[in-house]
Symmetry: C2
Subunit: 277 residues, 2 copies
DNA sequence: TTGACAAATGACCGGTTAGTCATTATTATA
DNA sequence: TATAATAATGACTAACCGGTCATTTGTCAA
């Protein structure tokens, strides 16, 4: 139907300027020259409108990007076409891009969050498959490269969406290709491991986390028999985990004891996070 | 006063969870165990509260970061301390960091936008001075490195703020130091020029932009006498700029004519942007 | 011209909000 | 204890919101 398209277009203009929540249905219908009731003939609710917008544009953008990566035959051109394609899409659908970036972090309802996550993970999949194609399956810092690419995209998108300055997308893409290539070929200090990434995507429950921590503590108690203070601290922390025994001061002190051992940085973080210190 | 601090703390917890606009003054006062009226004895309005929060924490974080960069004597440690310090701050003030990131792109009022811009440009200054100290004044891709750093900070902050997974900040900082160093030492295809950066920070008026475009067009008309189609197109576009003459179809066609000349990519972007095509 | 059906309207509803202010409670002072 | 000054309250206002629905308008075929 025609009406639906009109509403989507005008609403997007307003959302880009003022944000979703700051824009009322009244305003949208005024901009369209229709009545408030007519809006609800096309959309069940204001939420359905933004959900439709996200689906409509993200399906477009995501599939375009996927085609680019899939159909570009020369491997050395893929990165360029990826960046150029992405920024072109953002340029073409700039009102949507502005809205999406603005509302990305605002979670109105469960369905909204799920949609954002879905398209984000689709993008991650596309980027990962691209990286694997260009640099091979076993690139050590694969996930870091992926996040670096996302970082570049975010920061530079922001720049050209929210400043009125005209951008040379070709030069931008070229510049980012070089940066990405440098990182992929030479970065040797990875941060994101497969395990960490899996945890981010599928957060473990508190109970599972506790089991994991206890396991590592047992390893440490066995492995660090030469440092009695650290060992004793681990034993006490293990007791505290199984049943809360100590006050925050003692727990903090025990954590300090183990933190200084260079083999215990990771477990210290795990404990700190689990105990919400 | 005590009350003020209490309100700021409790409000921040709620803002981090639900966002600023979704949190009512009622909710805040309930969380504090005070009446609604009491809120307005401490703050003139809800806006003043968030503005105070931003000032309080951003002054803290920004000055801490500045001290780190200033006081670290060994140049090869500055980058690490910068990243580590920044992520530590975000970890320490995670409720604030969450709120700030969520509301960054939402512009409630003029004062809010100004504040966000102010602290953002302070951060940029700190990063730039750090880069200059480490890599020298004349690093060609200085501004790109700065934006890359901002990109890394943003993406990884997001990751550790909005996932419950515990992070090894030491490893993260180390990894980002390596990436930044690689880019600074080897990136040779800059995107952000000083001129472009100045335009972003101090956008020119439409009139100034028009003058600049006309100037470049005159250059092109002189310099591209061998391609009569391109030349003719520029002459017509110049006429159209001085007084709108043609419909969108003709203008688009003229732009297409010049776009394909490899020397005209930049001016095509300028025109496209100015004419809002 | 009529009547049946669909499309469109906008007054209206219940709910929520930021912010106010007359009133009350608490504290300090004389 | 009496009085003045200050702190705190919460019912209240005015505005706005998303969403509804009885009513009107427009458009067909008969």
């Amino acid at each position: 139907m025609m009406k639906k398209q009109l509403i989507m277009e005008k609403a997007l203009e307003l959302f880009a300027m003022q944000g979703f929540e700051a824009t009322s249905v009244q305003q949208i219908t005024e901009q369209c020259g229709i009545s408030k009731g007519a809006f609800y003939l096309s959309f069940k609710s204001k939420d359905e409108l933004i959900l439709s917008l996200i689906d409509h544009f993200m399906m477009q953008i995501t599939s375009e990007l996927d085609c680019i990566v899939r159909d570009t035959e020369k491997t050395n051109e893929v990165l360029y076409k990826f960046y150029y394609g992405n920024f072109s899409s953002f340029y073409k659908y700039s009102d949507f891009a502005k809205t999406f970036i603005k509302e990305q972090t605002h979670s109105f309802n469960e369905e909204f969050i799920l949609k954002i996550h879905y398209y984000d993970s689709e993008l991650e999949k596309i980027i990962l498959s691209m990286i694997e194609r260009i640099y091979g399956e076993n690139l050590p810092a694969k996930l870091d490269i992926m996040y670096s690419i996302k970082g570049f995209m975010n920061t530079y998108s922001h720049l050209f969406l929210f400043s009125q300055v005209p951008f040379d997308l070709h030069q931008l893409a070229k510049s980012l290709v070089e940066k990405t290539d440098l990182l992929a070929k030479h970065a040797a200090v990875p941060f994101l491991t497969e395990e960490l990434y899996q945890n981010i995507k599928h957060p473990v429950t508190e109970e599972e986390q506790k089991e994991k921590i206890l396991e590592i503590i047992d390893q440490k108690i066995e492995g660090l028999k030469d440092d009695s203070i650290v060992q004793e601290s681990f034993i006490l922390l293990k007791k505290h985990l199984k049943e809360p025994t100590f006050g925050p001061a003692i727990v903090k002190g025990l954590l300090e004891n183990i933190r200084h051992n260079s083999h215990c940085k990771w477990i210290t973080y795990l404990l700190q996070s689990y105990l919400k210190m």
